[in-house]
Amino acid sequence: MGKINIVQAINQALSQEMERDIDVVLLGEDVGKDGGVFRVTEGLLSRFGPDRVIDTPLSELGIIGAAIGMAAYGLKPVAEIQFMGFIYAGLEQVFSHASRIRSRSRGRYSVPMVVRTPYGIGIKPPELHSESSEAIFCHMPGVKVVVPSTPYNAKGLLVSAIRDPDTVIFLEASRLYRSIKADVPDELYSIPLGKADIYQEGNDFTVVSWGTMLHRAAEAAEDLDCEIIDLLTLKPFDEEAVLNSVKKTGRLVIVHEAPRIAGFGAEIAAFVAEEAIEYLKAPILRVAGPEAVIPMARLEDYYIPSKDRIRKAYETVMKY
């Protein structure tokens, strides 16, 4: 047990799982010698060698496409896409293949692969390094989507993602990589996919969030008696946890940084409006990115949901 950050937690998960299972291989741009641009895979090349920690050409489609073939053949590839903004080239591979090969072959072949990628706003990087497009992956049946929020759950969820028999998109908030340190068991452990974490118990309203925004949503909730749900797995999400909480509190605010329109918050809201409308005392509010291209550094802080905007939403639902 020691206090480590998310970069270290993920590194531990990878390294311990690679130790345990010889079929796990990593591939991606700069994951080897350079240890990844965020140093998530640091030290793994020298430990596991170039057959298991593979520096690839600049080729997101190729990385995901080849990983599909590797997975179908029997390896457990963990592909890294350097930033989520560059995953789009691989979408056809994910949507038309990874998510369908089991169904297409009626179970003869499957694609147990993980695609890890840093996502989200908040590190003032160049353009397209701040994407948060989890919703589009959530829409496609056949893939799972996981977003850890702490060193502890990052390690345990990544282990589960690697062991999962289906393709898992594993989104790592770049803003959180080094900003939180917490106690994490040294040994290997796993946290089941599909289960939310009740980050804070409370009674007056429910907050649903994930990744970076979870922490901001929690900060904004200071001294309020609300229940905060950290979704952790977005697809399939923990319907029961959301429902139980909303039934208790009667109010719901969803916080995410992705654009609001057709973001994953819409699914949570629609789900509750279908299953628990009679419990609702207030409108369901979403605090999310606006209908605009994600700006570069100078305007970044204006785009990302601020503590104030989140707080305002809390206060609004509490008026009902």
């Binding site: 690839t56 496409g65 080849a66 056809e92 591979q93 072959s105 009626r106 499957s110 319907e239």
Partner: protein, 355 residues
């Protein structure tokens, strides 16, 4: 002096049996009589399968179907060159490849009738499900071959795609990885001169597809795709090279799609009857028959008996295919993930499909 030549390439073309049935003696000698008969019989079988598929489609008994007529040599010659331990990655126009590898024809008919169960390859047949999105399966073959290499298995992967498929980014990235990581894969371009209505010379300004291999640092070769001996030999050489650890090869099978693109297409809208006729003279069976006849391996009776056997076999496969139980609606859910999610269980219940 300031301009130097720093690299040179040549693109080779291989033909063993020409359209008139004349064979190159040094190369044909490696094929036994029974090899040639095996080719001949497989072409007849695939052709019989194909013709019946076209009729079944017209009768509404299967859905849209992509004919392989004219491409049997490219498909079967190459498929025969792989071992059963090797993995093949077909596109949707590879019925001939599957049949050559012993894929149950009744399952193929099921597939074309719109039933996914037809693409569940039997456990001993390492064939990936046909890829409908053109060219996008190329990186899968690279990945599987790479896994073979990393696991130390002495195997190869083979992937089939058309001239159209060579235009996709997936082709580029898949071949580039194969070159960089030197994996045991054979890229089999079925250049049938058309991608629906687009002729080959509008698909790319390169004179050959084969030469595209040099962009990835490995060898490409064009073969007469209607010459089953040439296709077999080029593929066999490439498979052996792959298994020796000497990396990938791109083989362009120069052939022709004699039928419409699919049963939904009308090729007369965009190409002439004359063009099609001129290629009919070059189709794979004629030259093989001529050569075998000259060598005393072919007789009319022999062919009749082969055709008869093929028809009987196809008949019984169709019967089997059509007597297969209807798919279970909840299969829609059962194979999306390894196990049902809570949401899916709820949906199955809502649909009244519980068992």
């Amino acid at each position: 002096m300031p301009t130097q030549i720093i690299e040179k390439f040549e693109v080779k073309y291989l033909q063993i049996i020409d359209e008139k049935g004349q064979a190159d003696q040094s190369l044909i000698s490696s094929f036994s009589d029974s090899d040639l008969k095996r080719f001949f019989e497989a072409i007849i079988l695939a052709r019989t399968f194909n013709q019946r598929a076209l009729s079944l489609q017209r009768e509404g008994r299967i859905g849209t179907y992509a004919s392989i007529l004219g491409q049997e040599a490219s498909q079967i010659g190459s498929a025969f060159a792989f071992g059963s331990e090797d993995w093949l990655f077909p596109s949707f126009r590879e019925s001939g490849v599957l049949i050559a590898r012993g894929y149950p024809m009744w399952m193929l008919y099921r597939y074309w009738a719109g039933d996914e169960r037809g693409m569940k390859a039997p456990p001993d047949i390492n064939i990936f499900p046909m890829s409908v999105p053109v060219g996008t399966h190329v990186p899968h073959a690279t990945g599987a071959a790479w896994a073979m290499k990393l696991k130390g298995h002495r195997k190869a992967a083979g992937v089939y795609f058309g001239d159209g498929g060579s235009s996709k980014g997936d082709f580029h990235e898949g071949l580039n990885f194969a070159g960089v990581f030197n994996v045991p894969v054979v890229f089999l371009c079925q250049n049938n001169q058309w991608a629906i209505s687009l002729p080959r010379n509008r698909q790319t300004a390169a004179k050959t597809i084969a030469q595209k291999a040099y962009a990835y640092g490995f060898e490409g070769i064009q073969v007469d795709g209607n010459d089953i001996a040439a296709v077999y030999k080029a593929t066999r050489d490439a498979v052996e090279k792959a298994k020796r650890g000497e990396g990938p090869t791109l083989i362009e099978c120069f052939t022709y799609r004699l039928d419409d693109h699919t049963t939904s297409d009308d090729a007369l809208r965009y190409r002439s009857k004359e063009e099609v006729e001129s290629w009919k003279a070059k189709e794979p069976l004629i030259r093989l028959r001529l050569y075998m006849e000259k060598e005393g391996i072919w007789t009319r009776e022999y062919e009749d008996s082969v055709v008869k056997r093929a028809q009987e076999s196809v008949d019984s496969e169709i019967k089997k295919s059509e007597s297969f139980e209807a798919p279970n609606p909840s299969d829609i859910f059962n194979y999306t993930y390894a196990s049902l999610t809570p949401r899916q269980k709820k949906e199955i219940k809502d649909f009244g499909w519980e068992r």
